[in-house]
Subunit: 383 residues, 2 copies
DNA sequence: CAACTAGGTCACTAGGTCAA
DNA sequence: TTGACCTAGTGACCTAGTTG
């Protein structure tokens, strides 16, 4: 690059230097990884990228936001690294692998760690979808509430035992024996999955697989579940609808649930359309789900849980950002912002759904069986 | 060739250019060494060909395979050079007559470095031999164990203070006052050096002069010393025996230690005969010693020490190779392999010696003074 | 002389080191 | 851990020599 050279020859611009570090605003040393940076930030970026270390900002996550403060807080490594990525420092410019020493330290590099985490998430997600597709179809009126489900052992392995549900996906015009209202909240049928229930169950089992979740107090676990499981299962449904190239929200059996004609459809489909709009990829979806789950802002959490979730959120956020940069280079930061936007949609959807359900179901409660008011679905809607 | 010209004048084909570098696919600059290449690849090829340094791909040897990846990994010099040759760049087009300057200047830096290192090693080795020849003869029963010797300051300068040992080398028939067993491990005599001890001491002082050694943890220093000092002192003795044109293993005072009649002689002399067979030169010996010392495969080393020793080993290995190539041209690589073979002999000798010593000395321990069981020699034999 | 392509130069940026 | 400083390339640009 000749940028430095040009500036040096331009007598008008010689002083003061127009050429400051894009991260910390100190005088720049040159272009490093495609961005004008100082020596410190250059070395910092390489070190951070190469070393695996979990980072967290202990202030407000704005230590390097130069709109908010005149001087960056150089000591905050989390914010510094985030800023490096945001101004577009390109990890691909680091010559991993091509040099002997780096090949060795690659084992511990962030890249490797990302791979590990993504492998794990991928594996788990396959299991989840297998679970949804399985013939396992427990009676929702009997299986108990959230607390019972939290306590019992993982049900995911049952999909192996039961095998796939025969005949799925159904033809679009498939007609079920039971009526829609029955299907919805009235009675249990062993021949048809109550998707609202089963998707919630799937997400509960999903959360239960994470060590960080199991380490929370039972009270925090309950709070988190209540706040996150609906959105989580909606995100899952939405992604798989998209993946299976349906044009509207579908369940694994091929049915439209809720139906387009139902009033809540548009709200349910919000996330589906958001995913479609950004054209989310699989790995992005996996990380987004984790970011959504790690929500430290949920009310009434203990401070321990807040801390752990905050840590989790920055862990997966950074991973998503690094992933975007790796796969897209310069447009990585934009992509990251677009993807994070899906989280906001999920949160909004959750609020709308709650209001909607309360409005729609409250008047019906008298005609629904008393089993419903003790069910998981009731709990998730009205808690 | 007018190809470049044609393209420039052809308005239709101006964009996108059909004239890309055959190696890296960036826009080409012209034909260089018979192939359309960019400026970078042109210069790269010349530099590489003139330097001819050993290269290795640390990935899959496909960094420039544009069928497999859209962008080449420009930093992989091995694959880049391979691709240069593959697309037919012709080294004969390089004009060696006028290239002397570049070759020289590029070579000079490397050569200069080698010279520096060898000068240093030579100087140090002279000091060592002076030390062995000096009248300094500490009491091995009192001087302490390895840890004490590691901690104390360098003793090499004492050879100046004490001057050379008077009367050395002795006539082959010289008769000592003390008996052989006494000499071996029983008592200390100020008039006669216990060579096994003094050679170990010399090698310990040798190792202590290296900054890289001093930067290791004490624990690593001890492990390394225990593993390397015996072989190091054997190599030293063997080389100087050869240099002084003795026909069997001799110490600086001219005595045969161990005696040919002793059972361990043949094992001790292994390295001596190996050196004789290859006809090692001084500088080769110096580098071999360093390569032997830098052994990252020693068990229980910290990963830091492993890393540093690995680096040291490749540093001195490359130096030896370059030295062989410089002094012998075409038969350089063969010579290098022969020389490296000495290291294997050293390692083998070390194993044999340990077994032998344990067998020979264990039954004698009861008749040896308790000082012996606390001495450096005991430590090096039985650790 | 125009159109090239050798070689040479040097500002520039990777990675690496080490004192603070 | 940080960052000033170092080494080892890298390639844009230049010059000089060759060819038709
Ligand atoms: Zn900076
Ligand atoms: Zn911060
Ligand atoms: Zn090229
Ligand atoms: Zn390669």
């Amino acid at each position: 690059m000749d940028f430095l050279h040009q500036v040096a020859n331009n007598s008008i611009l010689k002083f003061p230097s127009p050429f400051n570090c894009k991260i910390c605003n100190r005088p720049a040393h040159g272009h490093h990884c495609d961005v004008a940076t100082c020596k410190g930030c250059k070395t910092f970026f390489r070190r951070m990228y190469l070393l695996k270390s979990e980072l967290r900002c202990y202030i407000n996550s704005d230590c390097f936001d130069l709109d908010k403060r005149t001087e960056p807080l150089l000591r905050c490594r989390a914010c510094r690294f985030k800023k490096c990525l945001l101004v577009g420092m390109n990890p691909n410019a680091l010559n991993f692998r091509t040099t002997k020493n780096l090949t060795q330290s690659l084992k511990n590099s962030k890249e490797e760690k990302i791979k590990d985490v993504i492998n794990e998430l991928t594996y788990l997600d396959c299991k989840l979808e297998q679970f949804r597709l399985s013939a396992y179809n427990p009676n929702w009126t009997e299986i108990g509430g959230l607390e019972d489900l939290l306590r019992c052992s993982s049900k995911l392995s049952l999909s192996n035992k039961f095998g796939p549900f025969p005949g799925w996906p159904y033809h679009p015009n498939h007609i079920f024996a039971s009526s829609n209202l029955d299907y919805n909240f009235k009675t249990y049928s062993p021949h048809r999955k109550q998707w609202r229930f089963f998707n919630l169950l799937t997400s509960i089992e999903f959360l239960k697989t994470f060590p960080f979740f199991l380490k929370l107090d039972t009270k925090d676990q309950l709070i988190l579940m209540r706040h996150v499981v609906v959105g989580c299962s909606n995100l899952h449904s939405a992604y798989y609808t998209l993946k299976n190239k349906y044009e509207d929200l579908r369940q694994p059996d091929g049915t439209q649930r809720p139906k387009k004609s139902e009033p809540q459809y548009s709200t349910f489909a919000m996330v589906f359309y958001a995913l479609m709009r950004v054209g989310v990829h699989y790995i992005e979806y996996l990380l987004l789900k984790m970011i959504f789950i790690c929500n430290p802002a949920i009310p009434n959490l203990s401070s321990n849980a807040q801390y752990k979730l905050e840590k989790g959120r920055s862990f997966y956020s950074e991973m998503l950002l690094v992933y975007c940069l790796q796969s897209l280079n310069s447009s990585g930061p934009t992509r990251y912002v677009d993807l994070i936007g899906v989280i906001a949609t999920l949160e909004k959807q959750q609020k709308l759904l709650k209001d909607l359900h309360v409005c729609l179901l409250a008047p019906m409660l008298s005609i629904l069986p008393k089993e419903f008011s003790r069910s998981l679905m009731y709990e998730m809607i009205f808690s």
